[in-house]
Symmetry: C2
Subunit: 338 residues, 2 copies
């Protein structure tokens, strides 16, 4: 259809120029980069490739009210880097689909691309190409990331076994608490330092760089997922795909202090934030108990945590266990049986 | 941010189920398909990979007024397959980013996916994964396609040389004429059979399957591009990136008869439709004149045409030449000097 006027076209060309200028990263495997019909890349010998794609939509995954353009770009990169990491791989090339809203100035997109490419460069990922199109009803972003992993080796969601320990590389529920704080107008009821911390947890999530790859190499991981949809949904994926039961230790889920504070204000239980939340981009993984010590050593050597949050048993379903050993089943979307 | 309610989530899950059920294509290189954090693929030995991405936005690239959902999906596939083809490759894997508008019924997306996967399957492309997200302000689609090509060999836009012939695998301007017919309310002034043909040219474009790959293998191509942005812009890319001048033969541009008819009604010159139009997805390529006969033979053996539409000279710029040898320079977006 292409209703794009000459004006839209010139915006598009400006944005493409910014992307091309910013994306000149040396990458041995990238033979032809942005500017042709396709990028041409040479896959590393003896390795398999991991493919992932994550989209972000204005008004659904981010609001321009409290996300800076740099933070939007950075979050898009982190969501994708986290997926490749959770599969045990190392990211190499990216393709960006950008739907730009022509009502925003070019400088907005320059800043967004700066945030995106900054985060990609930290991981030595080259932007190989993409597509820039007008999207007058709001920005959308679609990033494809291609990573590598030794032939025949990757972490899937299918490998958890009874006796395995469930670990998390970071705290959980913080991003969701941050979103609630920002959208439920709780700004005045939360002390400023806590509010600042909550905002940061939502807007500027971290992912445990290099951890999946190192755990896979050291045979310290049987299954993994990144915490993007909330612990309940994420662990249910692992449980169903591995054919096992997941037991979560209610008191051991690492929830940031400001998130606990917010839960109290809102009359929620802190663990509900972790179960229903998501987008923390911590690595949730399972390790055979005899490899637990080594897994902890690896995480620590990379500067990441390894919280023991549960165990795998034979059976099915997801259960929350308190310190007295009492269990409750966790239902869809993180609600528990009363 | 994820404002997605349980309702949106269940729509998302339904759509993902449809995609997963429909995408079970046997593909030797696809080790892990949809359902994990990443897809895992084994790149074919001794080959390089081509990467491309094409986005489509409701209201910009297609209107649901006259595009069936199947046609939307099919067009997305064709736009991407055409890019891999123009680089001389063969498509293998796809990743779909789908922003669904929850106001449309699930059946709409089932039909869209059917059109997309049908077109991908015709070319033995496996859907390896993707991301499905809510997009309440209108549908967007982002397809990433990964293809293969023999190591170190691909067609770029940089290789055209003085003396080369410019060829087109199909007629041009038809898709743009179809769009004008549909949007300028010309339905009553165009005879029905012509209108039907114009609609089809816009809604259901064809691309020359296998042609780029065969021309590359036979050393019959120095540069190529798919006709997606209009002949003026597309040839300007080739001219600028190859550092040459492109001469187009005004009377020899193959314009479908209904498009010529529409041009007359609208007071345009038919060639303007081809110059400014686009989205015909024909292959535009250059061949050394001594390889012209072989190039024609290859195109014909695959059931495609090979219209001789111009030549390459030393210099720069894009010129339109009439049958008397008179030349006019073609300016930005297909307008000519008066």
């Amino acid at each position: 259809m292409h209703t794009s006027s000459a004006n839209l076209r010139s915006t598009e060309i400006e944005i493409i120029k910014i992307i091309e200028a910013a994306s000149r990263v040396e990458s041995r495997g990238l033979l032809v980069g942005p500017g042709d019909d396709c990028a041409l890349v040479r896959p590393p010998e003896g390795e398999d490739l991991l493919l992932t794609k994550d989209c972000m939509v204005e008004g659904v995954h981010f609001s321009t009210d409290y996300f800076s353009p740099e933070a939007v770009g950075r979050r898009l990169a982190v969501a994708n880097l986290s997926d490749i990491g959770a599969s045990g791989g190392r990211s190499i090339w990216a393709l960006l689909g950008l739907g730009f809203d022509p009502k925003r100035p070019i400088s907005y997109y320059a800043r967004l691309i700066d945030g995106l490419l900054g985060a990609l460069k930290e991981d030595n990922v080259a932007l190989a190409g993409g597509d820039t199109v007008a999207s007058p009803r709001g920005i959308f972003l679609s990033l494809t990331l291609i990573g590598k992993t030794p032939k025949g080796r990757s972490i899937s969601r299918r490998g958890a076994r009874p006796g395995d320990v469930i670990l998390s590389s970071g705290s959980l529920g913080g991003s969701h608490a941050g979103l609630l704080a920002l959208t439920q107008k709780l700004t005045t009821s939360i002390p400023y330092p806590m509010m600042r911390c909550l905002k940061k947890l939502h807007i500027c999530p971290q992912y445990p760089k290099g951890l999946g790859e190192a755990l896979l190499e050291a045979d310290c991981v049987t299954s993994a997922i990144d915490s993007s949809d909330g612990l309940a949904k994420d662990l249910r994926h692992i449980g169903e795909m591995s054919g096992v039961r997941c037991i979560l230790y209610k008191e051991k889920i690492p929830i940031p202090r400001p998130a606990r504070y917010l839960a109290r204000i809102m009359g929620m239980r802190p663990y509900e934030l972790a179960l229903r939340g998501g987008e923390d981009f911590a690595l949730i993984w399972t390790t055979p108990s005899e490899r637990l010590k080594e897994a902890r050593r690896i995480a620590s050597s990379l500067g990441h945590r390894a919280f023991e949050i549960g165990r795998i048993e034979a059976g099915s379903g997801l259960f929350l266990e308190d310190s007295h050993g009492l269990q409750k089943e966790v239902l869809e979307y993180g609600y528990t049986h009363k």
